[in-house]
Symmetry: C2
Subunit: 120 residues, 2 copies
């Protein structure tokens, strides 16, 4: 889980993750989305993501196709979820007037930011 969280703490790697989440992409095409850094840098990011179990690789001819691996973030997601739910349980028991964390709104905020961070 440490590796997954560390991998996902980098904004470039998060952007890569979002790219390969919906479709399988070759390394070069991924690198094209990041003109500000070199292609080897992207390759190294892909290695970090692969080692952390966040993406899968599949050689196809000349190229290597990357794609999101769903289970990769499970433990990390579970940790955060546990923090939330335990806290929520505590809050619920403690006081009903306590404001409920608005997760839906947070998700939408992230979506807006995602559009800005990964211009495809």
């Amino acid at each position: 889980m440490d590796a997954a969280l560390r991998a996902v703490a980098d904004p470039t790697r998060r952007a890569i993750l979002r790219l390969v989440q919906t479709e399988e992409l070759p390394a070069g095409e991924i690198a094209d989305h990041f003109p500000e850094i070199s292609r080897p840098a992207v390759s190294q990011h892909l290695r970090v993501l692969t080692d952390a179990g966040l993406v899968d690789v599949r050689p196809e001819g000349n190229r290597r196709l990357y794609r999101w691996r769903r289970d990769g973030l499970r433990d990390a997601a579970a940790f955060l979820d546990e923090m939330w739910s335990e806290q929520l349980e505590r809050l619920k028991v403690a006081a009903e007037r306590e404001e409920w964390p608005d997760r839906t709104r947070a998700v939408q905020a992230i979506r807006r930011r995602a559009e800005k961070e990964t211009p495809s």
Copy 2:
């Protein structure tokens, strides 16, 4: 969000977070839970957590009391949540595109997975 994810990627800091999640604790008492590392090291971890907005500090006389900050992990949790839900959306679209005999049941299966995997 970067800071929060980076902070939470360290196992010692995750342990600290769990300690101060349910009760407010002074720095020294927190440090007592980690005999393998020095007290200043713990103090620096607390600084990282504070800077990342994951804990709140409150001076009380001689001591400084730390406690979990609810909003600190919101963006990070939302990011992971987004990954999950978008993936579910993708599966749903894929399921609908394939012309299965019983389309409704397929969608419901996806919905059940959604409930299990992203408990709100």
